[in-house]
């Protein structure tokens, strides 16, 4: 009887234990870092270290430290006039002379002695709120600094992560709209995994009295800012900051990490790289990463760390995938990957044939022109009609069906000084392609157009005749004989596509 009772007791205990264990996986999340409560690794060890600050798009090297240190940061506020777009300037208020401000890199547990120096030429007082600070205002009240003065405060970085800093002086929105933001990376104690390339990209929205690309020094427009009606949405503070020669370079096979921030003041970013998939995204700049992401949301006053491997050569375009910002307000950047092709991963264009879908009827002019050309009775009107259909199938993808092109990426054919200046050159470009910098209607472009080797002389003649007789261009007629002459005079480069 006694043993029986004991057995019963054991059984009851086991049942109770099982019942207790049930909720355990829910309450104790695995691998909790402990946040700020576990972020204090004690007093700083060793001599104070002067922080290395970098201007965008560069990132300071990893701290490589295993112990907490005292880090001295000297950040200078400057109010400077700089180009926001070609021929357009703006008076930016900056941390360190750049938009975004200098990148700061420290390790969790570090004690940071922060010096905010407001240049004597400044008109305004400024301060700084670092989202990496635990304390009222993030340092703002302690760093309120008149022109020609310097403030000091000290904080311990208790949480790891990628944090935005910004000015918080009245009127805050205007200080931020003028470019007063940047990023501070607080590495976790073990550091971040090593990668081949690290870059610093930060989005911001700007509000000017003049319209987008209206030339001259443009003042801040308070009303547009209140209405959140941005004139410019930019990466790294100017339209060309990451385009052309400023594209971010990497080699095929390298892993690239972008520290992405969004200063706002108003707009959230749908951050995307065309032709890339983010292998990892430390979303919201926090501790965990998501894998295999196409577009990540970066809120105003927030961040993300994205990582990907360059698999094939070419240019990948960084955009805010809210697309009118990308193509009409400047939110474009470029990554340039160099290295050998891998056709098994990406073939390049294998076949280009005209597909007109339900517009197939319009193929008729092409056939009519081909027939007329064969009999030697081709008219200008036939050429234009044929060229229009061919243009829609081949050229309009990049140059747009209205010939306007895309700002910074694809030059315009409409009212194009470059096109009208030299007809033989236009023929040669279709035959051989074009890469490298060109200036069209005062704007510079640095993209790649492949050779259109699939087009015959008649087709090229018709496309160009259509182009020259459209959109206020110079007019005139290109004959197949013209094309044949140029084709004979300009041998195709070795290795041209097709």
């Amino acid at each position: 009887m006694k043993t029986h009772t004991r057995r019963m007791l054991v059984l009851v205990m086991m049942l109770t234990l099982a019942a207790c264990q049930q909720p355990a996986p829910v309450t104790a999340a695995p691998e909790d870092t402990g946040g700020s409560a576990k972020g204090d690794f004690g007093p700083p060890v060793g001599e104070p270290i002067e922080a290395i600050l970098t201007a965008p798009p560069l990132v300071p090297p990893a701290t490589g430290r295993k112990q907490p240190a005292k880090v001295v940061v000297n950040l200078e506020v400057r109010e400077i006039e700089k180009e926001i777009s070609e021929g357009v300037t703006y008076t930016f208020w900056t941390f360190g002379g750049t938009v975004p401000g200098s990148f700061i890199r420290i390790r969790q547990g570090d004690t940071v002695e922060f010096h905010l120096n407001n240049h004597p030429d400044s008109k305004m007082p400024h301060n700084i709120d670092l989202h990496a600070v635990t304390g009222p205002g993030g340092g703002a009240a302690s760093s309120f600094t008149a022109p020609g003065h310097s403030s000091q405060f000290t904080f311990k970085a208790l949480n790891a992560g990628l944090y935005v800093y910004h000015c918080a002086t009245a009127p805050v929105g205007m200080h931020v709209a003028n470019g007063m933001y940047g990023l501070i990376l607080v590495e976790p104690p073990e550091g971040l995994p090593a990668v081949d390339k690290e870059y610093y990209v930060m989005q911001g929205d700007f509000y000017t009295v003049g319209k987008y690309r209206e030339k001259g020094l443009q003042p801040f427009d308070m009303q547009k800012a209140i209405e959140e009606n941005a004139t410019y949405v930019l990466f790294n503070g100017s339209e060309g900051a990451l385009l052309g020669d400023n594209a971010l370079p990497a080699k095929v096979g390298e892993t690239v990490r972008l520290y992405v921030g969004n200063g706002g003041p108003n707009l959230s970013s749908s951050f995307h790289v065309i032709g890339e998939i983010f292998d990892k995204v430390w979303f919201e700049g926090g501790t965990r990463y998501q894998e295999n992401v196409q577009t990540t949301m970066v809120p105003a006053g927030g961040s993300a760390i994205v990582e990907f491997r360059a698999e094939v050569p070419g240019t990948s375009v960084i955009v805010d995938h809210a697309l009118f910002r990308a193509f009409n307000k400047g939110a474009l950047g470029m990554l340039k990957f160099e290295g050998p092709e891998d056709k098994t991963i990406y073939s390049g264009k294998e076949i280009d044939s005209v597909y007109l879908g339900d517009k197939a009827a319009s193929a008729a002019p092409v056939a009519a022109a081909a027939q007329a050309a064969a009999t030697g009775a081709l008219t200008l009107e036939q050429q234009v009609k044929s060229g229009e259909a061919l243009f829609a199938g081949t050229c309009s993808t990049c140059h747009q069906s209205n010939g306007a092109g895309l700002p910074n990426v694809f030059p315009p054919l409409a009212k194009s000084d470059y096109l009208n200046a030299d007809k033989d050159r236009a023929i040669a470009i279709i035959l051989n392609g074009l890469s490298g910098p060109v200036t069209v209607n005062g704007a510079s472009y640095n993209s790649v157009m492949p050779p259109m080797s699939q087009l015959n002389d008649d087709e090229i003649a018709n496309i160009l005749t259509y182009t020259y007789n459209s959109w206020d261009n110079a007019g005139g007629q290109i004959s197949a004989a013209d094309v044949a002459r140029v084709r004979a005079a300009t041998p195709r480069p070795e290795g041209a596509a097709h």
Binding site: E79, I80, E81, Y90, T91, P120, D121, S122, K123, M124, P125, N127, D129, P136, G137, A140, A141, F144, T145, A146, P147, G148, H149, A168, T169, A170, P171, V172, M174, V209, L217, Q218, P219, F220, D221, M222, Q223, I226
Partner: protein, 258 residues
Amino acid sequence: MRLLPLAMLMVPALGLAGGGYVTLPGGSYKSVLAYEDTGGTVTLAPFELMKRPVTNAEFLKFVRRLPQWQRDRVPSVFAESRYLAHWASATALGSAALPEQPVVMVSWFAASAYCEAAGARLPTWNEWEYAAAADATRADARADPAWREQILSWYAKPSNQPLAEVGQSPANHYGVQDLHGLVWEWTEDYASMLVSADNRTQQEQDRLQFCGAGAIAMDDRENYAVLMRVALLSSMEAANLTSNLGFRCARSIDEGTP
């Protein structure tokens, strides 16, 4: 006989008023500052205000007459080390400080002393704000977006350019010039119009920090043009100075003395 020293003091005051004074009628107007007692409505007695900011030439006369305000003699509690640093010497202007440019790099103490020596005083914030609310045709143009935008455009000008000479801008409704677009200006009571150093605190401001009537907040948050002027002044201490901060003097009318 007792009055004689006072009279002697007053005589040198002549010559320190530059473009002279204009008379402003005063009356009631709405301040952008939300005073706790009146909710922002302010009543001003008639007063006189200098037509233009004080110039380098005028300030040079002042420091020659009262050498204790020369930059190599002034105690550091009254002016920080950069006081008049852009002048060629303690008693000469030089190429970085033209005679007709507004004097800048002066502390509140120095500005106050100048006005006192001129038989005047610094204007109060309310007097300054009232005078500066006017444009060329209206006594209060503050609700006009174009007027605000024009003021804001000054902030878009880089601050590394030499300052214009005084008196270049059109006179406003009262006949006062250069209230906007040239320099910030000290006011007599600037130290009582503290705004929070962290602009975003809403209800939680440390009220003990702001004594009595000084406990004010920005009422008109859309009026960035004025908001920024208040922010600049509230970042200053009385010995501080900047390369954009000058002053002009005011006089009360009814009492006959400052």
